[in-house]
């Protein structure tokens, strides 16, 4: 796969002197879905805004489909659709007109059939002649998506598309994202919901205090999450792991009071019975047994809290 978006050492210091992006480097593959996770104020919106031209970067480069986002901004921006975090819409305008307006802004010729298709996909067709202010919050958010899709972008930015959206609508939104992906659209979305990233993303990025801490295939993260640990507490501490237990790849717990065994829950055989038998055969007595599973949430919380304030 080829990268459709290259972000290189992107920095943004706001006028007040606040450094919101501290050198973010990120390549996004054509057709993938990337979820950006991060606490409030991490810099997610700033990152998106800088790529889309709303915020002028202090340093660094952004290349969209091979076009530099500053020097060649027309070609770069034509490829991008943006759904902002805030619901910014003209209240008195009709849905149809506002969607048509966006298509025009991006230099695309009028195409009513295309707009109809988009509005139908977003279940907005029967609202096309309603004024925006007559719509519910969830519908307004979908109008924003319709606007962003109106000029047939190849990259779509969704800044917290499911914030304040009920469970049913969230599922709808995920379906929409999946359909867009099937159409070949590259999607970058931000979210505070880890299950959302799990449900729809191909890759997950974690950003805090202006730093991109991690970008990984979701599958690889799931692998980590699929790892479970079994901790066997011993009555009498040991100084080394008995040779008979070597095949299990155990770790020694604090002060030799426990043995820690890592295994994959999805494997056919976890090897737990064998291990417990082997421990008994080695003459060790068990006090307690605990299991622990790391989740994406744990990984996320760890990453975010490790950062010094």
């Amino acid at each position: 796969m080829t990268a459709i978006l290259n972000i290189k050492d992107l920095r943004k210091t706001y006028a007040g002197g606040f450094e919101a992006l501290k050198g973010v480097t990120l390549d996004i593959e054509e057709g993938e879905i990337l979820a950006l996770l991060g606490p409030n104020g991490a810099g997610k919106t700033t990152l998106i805004s800088t790529v889309c031209g709303l915020v002028t970067p202090t340093a660094g480069t952004v290349t969209v489909g091979g076009h530099d986002s500053q020097r060649d901004y027309r070609a770069a921006r034509e490829l991008i659709g943006l759904v902002p975090q805030e619901v910014n819409l003209e209240p008195f305008e009709k849905v149809w007109n506002t969607v048509r307006f966006t298509r025009g802004l991006f230099g695309k010729p009028r195409d009513d059939a295309k707009l109809e298709q988009i509005l139908r996909k977003l279940s907005l067709w029967d609202k096309k002649d309603s004024a925006v202010k007559e719509l519910s919050g969830g519908m307004k958010r979908r109008v924003l998506i319709a606007k962003a899709l109106s000029h047939e972008p190849r990259i779509l930015f969704l800044d917290e598309p499911t914030a304040g959206v009920d469970v049913a609508l969230r599922k709808d939104m995920w379906d929409i994202v999946a359909e867009l992906k099937a159409d070949g659209v590259t999607i970058i979305l931000t979210t505070h919901y880890i299950e959302e990233a799990e449900a729809i993303a191909d890759r997950v990025g974690v950003i805090t205090r202006g730093d991109l801490l991690l970008v990984e295939e979701k599958a690889a993260l799931m692998q980590q999450m699929g790892q479970k640990q079994l901790e066997v507490e011993l009555v009498a501490p040991v100084s080394t792991i008995p040779a008979a237990l070597a095949p299990f790849g155990l770790e020694l717990g604090a002060e030799g009071r426990s043995l820690i065994y890592s295994y994959d829950t999805r494997a056919e055989r976890t090897g737990i019975t064998k291990l417990l038998n082997a421990i008994a055969d080695a003459g060790l007595t068990l006090r307690d047994v605990k299991t622990r599973q790391s989740s994406l949430e744990d990984i996320f919380v760890n990453l975010v809290s490790e950062e010094p304030a």
Binding site: C52, T56, R77, L105
Partner: protein
């Protein structure tokens, strides 16, 4: 040039205007009629003629200019202030368009609205006075140029303004006095010499003078000077807007 974008902005802005067409139409008709009743009847009965033109007719160019300038500024400023205020400006900033295209769309629409109102006033005034326009084409050219240049000024005000008060401030505090002191309702030659000199620093004087020349063939300042003044003013506004978009002042962080 992204013509589709210019057309989209222009159409969107004009749609707003057409939604309130009746208001847009009625208020200038009403205010013009009032001016004719007050100025034309009350003052006109004392001042017969100004430089050979009946007072009622003499004030028509000033009246048209007064409304056109006010309208061009308020439409021009509101057109760009509103998206800034409600946040939809993000679309303009993320679209593949440059400052000239944004300006052409918004200022073009604001100028069109002002031009429409100028024409309404002109037609209304024929109900009160006999009008013979000496140079119709020059009249139209002056009118269009005024609409455009003041819509540009309005656009700058709209970007500068941080709240609705500021949006009203410039037109109220600066532009209206300039229009009234620019010879809308009198000939500068009627003023004491000191004030004549002061008035020469008022840019609106050149507009109204040139515009009046197009009507009656009489002017306070030479027509060439008027043209030069309006061209310089337009150029200055364009340069400022270019600078605003280059630096992102008050629109891009």
């Amino acid at each position: 040039m992204n013509w589709a974008a210019i057309a989209a902005i222009y159409r969107f802005e004009m749609a707003r205007f057409f939604r309130t067409l009746l208001q847009s139409f009625l208020s200038p008709v009403l205010s013009t009629s009032l001016y004719f009743v007050v100025f034309g009847a009350a003052i006109g009965s004392r001042i017969d003629e100004v430089e050979g033109v009946s007072y009622g007719a003499f004030i028509v160019p000033g009246l048209v200019m007064l409304s056109v300038i006010t309208q061009a500024i308020s439409n021009g400023s509101f057109g760009i202030y509103f998206p800034k205020f409600i946040g939809t400006i993000f679309e303009l900033l993320s679209a593949p368009i440059n400052f000239l295209e944004i300006v052409m769309g918004y200022v073009g629409a604001a100028a069109t609205k002002a031009l429409f109102i100028g024409c309404v006033i002109l037609v209304t005034s024929t109900l009160f006075v006999d009008l013979h326009i000496a140079h119709p084409l020059a009249m139209l050219a002056f009118l269009v140029l005024t609409c455009l240049s003041f819509a540009l000024l309005g656009f700058i005000i709209g970007i500068w303004a941080k709240n609705f008060e500021q949006l009203q401030l410039v037109p109220l505090l600066i532009v209206t006095p300039l229009i009234f002191l620019g010879g809308s309702f009198y000939s500068v030659s009627m003023l004491p010499p000191v004030w004549q000199t002061v008035t020469l620093f008022n840019p609106v004087l050149y507009l109204i003078s040139g515009f009046r020349w197009a009507f009656f063939g009489i002017a306070d300042v030479p027509i060439g000077v008027s043209l030069l003044a309006i061209a310089a003013f337009t150029g200055l506004c364009l340069a400022i807007i270019w600078l605003i978009f280059r630096t992102g002042w008050r629109i891009r962080s």
